[in-house]
Amino acid sequence: MATDDRVLLSVRNLRAVFETDDGIVHPVDGVSFDVRRGEVFGIVGESGSGKSVTAMTILGLQPTLKIKEGEILWKGRDLLTMPEDERRKVRGREIAMIFQDPLTALNPVHTVGKQIGEMARIHEGLSRRAAKERAVEMLELVGIPEPRKRADMYPHEFSGGMRQRAMIAMAITCKPDLLIADEPTTALDVTVQAQVLEVLLAIKDEIDSAIIMITHDLGVVAGMTDRVMVMYAGRAVETGTTDEIFYEPRHPYTLGLLASLPRLDDKGDEPLVPIVGSPPSLVHRPTGCFFHPRCRFARVPGNCETDDPALRLVAGDDHMAACHYAEELAGVTVESLRRQVDVTLESELADLDEPLERLVPDPEPRDAAGGDAAGETGGNGDAVGGAPAGPPAADTAHDGGTNP
């Protein structure tokens, strides 16, 4: 795969730790993935799953983090062993980052224009005046009205959505090959979220870059990404194309995330299925499969409790999952899971060790969860005019997980 010349970024077996008073934390524990030119790669997971840390590690923005092993190949060169001043030239120019909260991520004491122009000044050596012009150009590109006037304003004078647009403008100033967007819309109003995502996608085509989209919002993933990696407790538990992840999930965690996601076509009679329990401590992790204490399909006692499942190819040529019983999940859909849970709702809270065999594969065409979520998010930009439709509130996947 590394020989594929469309591969821009190749993270190989990345393992990093934080040392804290309570013990060693493993926020990223053996993660591998590739990002190819022009694609949108999603990284999904609950907070604490290691998705943000993974992104920070690519840019080297986690000073307290210790990289234990692995490599981050950028256009074939390992960023981790690259001298700092060369790596700095990659930052911003070749790989740029869009942060979650644009209010705190923008410097309050400099004008927006100056902060955007700074990018061009560092990497292209532009003069102050030329940098300012570039900033105005960039603000216009991301759809900010009166860009010349806005460039002289300070972040606190911008609205949330405009700030995030400014943040995007800053990131794309040097036309980077890769944009890393870390929860780019989480801090924004629902109506603004879709606009910002649209801007991001339009920009991607305009400057022909790849995007890593880090989010806990499955709606965002469905609407934007080409391929997805699902992370849990510092590991990748499932990777594949967006369609594969949404229509043919092969990991119980992915399935759980999808089942806990309410959809707009819900008739109101399908229950949402929370993922029980809370994410594991990253210091004292469970034995065997890290997900087994929360897994509806876990075989306890059995190898789920004792053996750590490796991420392996389960279908197609790129669909991988880290579950001992991935093949047996082949026919399980969100609907069947929900139906099953509905039937056993009374007993399920008491008896979480649901035998996998009792879940019958569903013959229905799988057009629900992913498809609609994707369609909905895509259409969201038009829905601004007061229609009640928002993107699927995938937040509940997260909330359901942490607060059963």
Partner: protein, 335 residues
Amino acid sequence: MTSYIIRRLLLIVPTVFVALSFLFLLFFLLPGDPARLIAGGAERNIDQGVLERIEERYGLDDPVLVQFGNYWKRTIQWDLGESYLNRRSVNEILGDRAVNSIRLAIWAIIIEIVVGISVGLLSAIRRYSWGDRITTIVTAAASAVPVFVLGFVLQYLFAVQPNKLDWPEWARLRTSGIGPDSWTFFFIPTGEQWRYLILPAVTLACVTTALLARMTRGSMLEVLRADYMRTARAKGLAERDVVVKHGLRNAMLPVVTLIGIDFGTAIGAAVLTEFTFGWPGLGSQIVESVQDRDLPVLLGLTLAVVIAYAVINLIVDVSYAWFDPRIRLGKGEHA
């Protein structure tokens, strides 16, 4: 902005009025007869007729309120009177002394800003290093040492010892007085002048330098954790530029406020420093005037200091608005 400044300047007036009135009335209660002082000393036996003439001339036998009224009538016209002691005009004394104080203060401020801020910054960047630990202890120590004790210790180490141990001439500093009083560009010492300047300047700077270093360190530690610093790194800025271009100005916000508030303490330190080193500035003159009960000089000098204090606070506030664009002067502000 302009209306804000005007409003603040107007606010200074009542504050100065009440403060000075308080001091005037307080000193009126001072034991001792000013007439005797004017006549040449409290101890000398002075002819009663002379005393009466003096009292009449200075209006010292008028009721308190009349004297009080007269005092303000003259003060408003910036007629600060003349010294009871030597008949010199207070304006003249004020001018002479203020120049010396300002020269000393300029050097102290240079030391404070250069040393205080850079030590604080380095300490924050290299948190938990040995340098940081030493800085923490030294700055705490500097805030605990009395100004005059520090002054004497410095005199002992850099002026007394070098003479005793016969150090080379260039290493010997002077302990007291202003020396040849030779300057260029108003504040740059020429010739031997620096030998007289350096110890009081360091002494005066010490407390505020320590405070600045502590504040800068704390504030910078906060700033280093800020999201926008991460953004700056993500842009590909070198760490030094991240700190200087994005961190410093944010870290200075609370420090700027502090400088204004601390000015009162700095005046106290200036009084003690000038007194310790016999530096002929406002501070040492104030102490002498208190001891001599030379009311016009004391009130005149205090008036100048109080006004300077208020104006400096105003400048600090205005510069704060420059440092932090989120602050809009005059808006949402109720005093």
